[in-house]
Symmetry: D2
Subunit: 285 residues, 4 copies
């Protein structure tokens, strides 16, 4: 397959948008290899993801963004994001002490499942340095205290910039991310957390879930916003448990779930198939 352009967009729904855009691509020699669209008939918003081959496309790739912006962005009050298949997203992984998500991600990366780069891992603890070394990825430790937090995050952000990081995955990183970093990567920081039916607040949620005798535990992966654990949800899943599961069993089943749910969310993000809108996501097929 030749290099492709991937366009994600949303705008107020009006008749003819899709016709106009697909027509424009086709007329200019672009071969559309993917098209998924969705209309929210309640909010009246149109969403689409179009991918086409650049090989015979009349518009030079560095002008495409301009053309779409000029032709459609204002006319339709449209938000656009454009990607090229030969430009890989660059991921930074943030970890603390738990390795299950990190291993699952690095195994996929190492096996070639993910079309991305992972230039570095950042942690507030040295514990997982051996895992990083095992996979040959630089591991940077920034111990965080109440006093040095702002300063350490400055260094982290410098490191992210120096490495051209385009998105961040919090793989069980047990630190709250500052507003400043969140705003530097809006809808580009992916987090994973366990979820319960009903929800439990306070410490030791798995123990609370056990005391309450829940029959299902879940995990949720979402983009990080400034409101804690309340950003747009990318992926969720659950696993059944019984009264025979101890709190330790719940933790183990929760870990298995977390790593799969997080990796699914990251896969979708790498494939440019997630479009965050307001506080929800459209997940293209």
């Amino acid at each position: 397959m030749s290099v492709t352009a991937k366009l994600l967009l949303h705008c107020p729904d009006r008749p003819g948008i899709l016709a106009e855009i697909t027509n424009f691509i086709t007329v200019n020699g672009g071969n559309i290899v993917y098209l998924d669209q969705y209309v929210d008939h309640i909010e009246h918003v149109f969403f689409a993801r179009v991918e086409w081959e650049l090989e015979n496309f009349a518009i030079p790739r560095d002008k495409i963004q301009d053309y779409f912006s000029t032709l459609y962005a204002q006319k339709y009050d449209m938000s656009l994001r454009l990607y090229f298949s030969d430009v890989k997203p660059r991921m930074a992984i943030f970890v603390s002490k738990m390795s299950h998500c990190l291993f699952d991600m690095l195994a996929r990366y190492s096996a070639g499942e993910w079309d991305c780069e992972i230039p570095l891992i950042i942690s507030n603890h040295p514990d997982l340095e051996p895992v990083a070394r095992q996979f040959g990825i630089p591991y940077h430790v920034f111990p965080v205290t109440k006093e040095n937090k702002a300063e350490q995050e400055q260094k982290e952000m410098q490191l992210l910039r120096d490495n051209g990081i385009t998105f961040i995955v919090l793989a069980r990183y047990m630190q709250v991310i500052s507003e400043q970093m969140i705003e530097a990567y809006p809808n580009h920081i992916i987090n994973i957390h366990h979820s319960f039916l009903p929800a439990f607040v306070g410490a030791k949620p798995y123990h609370q879930a056990w005391e309450r005798g829940v029959k299902i535990i879940g995990a949720t992966s979402h983009y990080v916003t400034t409101e804690l654990d309340a950003g747009p949800i990318i992926e969720q899943d659950v696993v059944r448990i019984t009264h025979k599961d101890t709190p330790a069993d719940l933790v183990m089943k929760g870990k298995d779930l977390e790593k799969i749910v997080l990796s699914r969310a990251v896969s979708k993000h790498i494939d440019r198939k997630v479009l965050a809108y307001k506080n929800k996501t459209v997940i293209f097929s």
Copy 2:
């Protein structure tokens, strides 16, 4: 199969309890056809469900409860519940206006899936009377207002007593049950409610779930306690949704889920396989 006795018990865990009880049944000619036990090694509580044929059992059935109480209840600080397979539980169904759970339950009852009696249906609205009539079950309407609520519930409880009701199923009954009725049927009132990850408080939860873009919705069936929706959970399940589901789709998928989850919980209760302890349940196999 001959008539069986079903014994459910729990007590502080001590060595030899199960040996003693199964030995006692066996020595007295009881043929054990079912045995499931579980030890909570965190709280140190022993739970068991034993079922045996009465055919050659040396102890008369009306003395069995006495024997177990005398022999074990005090010695082991044991709570006991005894049932006989030829004594059917008698269920009252409470409904309001939604029919999906009611139809599912009456279809099972009508098809002989459930070994119980359903002498009556109680409602605060006349809407589902045709469904009751269709299945030939008496339908009693008790419209509830703030003023007459206590009085109406008195009449309902009288009706339950007159009909020898042993447990109640709230099949989308949109009224809060009073403490008095809950205490008359402790861990014998089964409710169903939708559940979300994360939880949503306030009105129109399906609409909130849609706005939040959740990827999963759930349903929880539980025993009713005086704390709203916080009683011991019997059964839970979830269904996946996507951004393409409208709030109306969510409601429909939620209804399908609710009826199945509620019916599973009711089945377990009818089979005497649920043992509530503190605020959780042991579900025997």
Copy 3:
């Protein structure tokens, strides 16, 4: 919402098809309220489902089919199906002796969940006549023997024609449908059958599944083709089981699964969201 037209189509994929069609609808005053499309990039086939309001649509409804046929069918080698939202599909249900699927379907119909008509139920046994009567639907018994099978099916087909039946649901109908009837309702007869991992041939599959100790049982709903149980799959689902489930438990769990899977498939069919192509289906969102 005003009356809508629903157009389902597929054709060899070529650039610009969707643009042309949506443009045509829009230009002629049709307000598109739904659009889902899918390109099979392996077989190079384009599929779409478009729904638009007829209120201000310039083309009279009885000419729409003609227009699309003339404009696109030949040009794009396109197969088209057109429906109107105010013309309800008319379903005949075929049953034998098991009631679980029938009850679930009639309960949905009765509760207004399904936008269809059910003018009649056909059976080879009288057993479920009381259920039909309960819901007020005519029940026709055609006992089938090897000798009279062809003749009885003739009568059934006459009855279907007389009642304007547009599709048939085999709700655990334990008779093989003849080629003639299948060809009269191509991809319009929906069946449900249990499915196992691995598959079991021969009698008593649930007993075989139990002997094999499978951990999952499934159900598959599909369109009936002349090859037994091999038509395009509409919906499948599974339920977990354990070694503690008896063959009777498997049968019960299988029944619960069958009715839900069948009803989901029927819902999709009623909503005109299933497009069968070769031996598979595209399920629109």
Copy 4:
């Protein structure tokens, strides 16, 4: 927790077995920390898993097997397996070229999730040697041809013996294991394979599943017997797919499923919670 003994047993069901055994353990000072039992009332077989602390147990650990054999094995026609918590199972992993299962297993091992040893990895290809080196585990390559197969397997078996291997995991090992090796490790070789509803024979099953438009794909982990893919099933699971999934998507989803299902099966085996009987398994809680 002190060292424990784990006893797995099965025998024809007779009254009093469990009472006798638990009584024997208790009387001799053993503190039972786990007991799960199951009676197959169709085949009339009794199964149990008992675990007790050895700290104050009157019988020396090297005599326990003798005692149980002498006291119960013949009397009850009982099959027994005894393990001690401080003797870890020793696993050999067989791989070919695909890394997803291997990574998942080594990540768990490396993170301390599994109470076992992995002294070596065997492969018919050199491809995954870097993964083994990364985790510091010896990797032995035995290229297999039709001519040298018997000879190579002899060397493999010598290696297994030299390393005290107690069970084997085929982590996508694309070679049929010989009867000789299977008989050396009866119900101790764990395999994983994809499963489909319906089943597909022949090459490229994922492509066949795609052509057939299945809505679910599965994976099955089982003990290897001399009949291909027909041994006792330990664990199964499925994942939903849609018409939008390409054969490549199916392969990817299948891989995610395979690794989780295989690891679950291996976990159960390591915990001594699987009892194979005839061609099925009892999975203790």
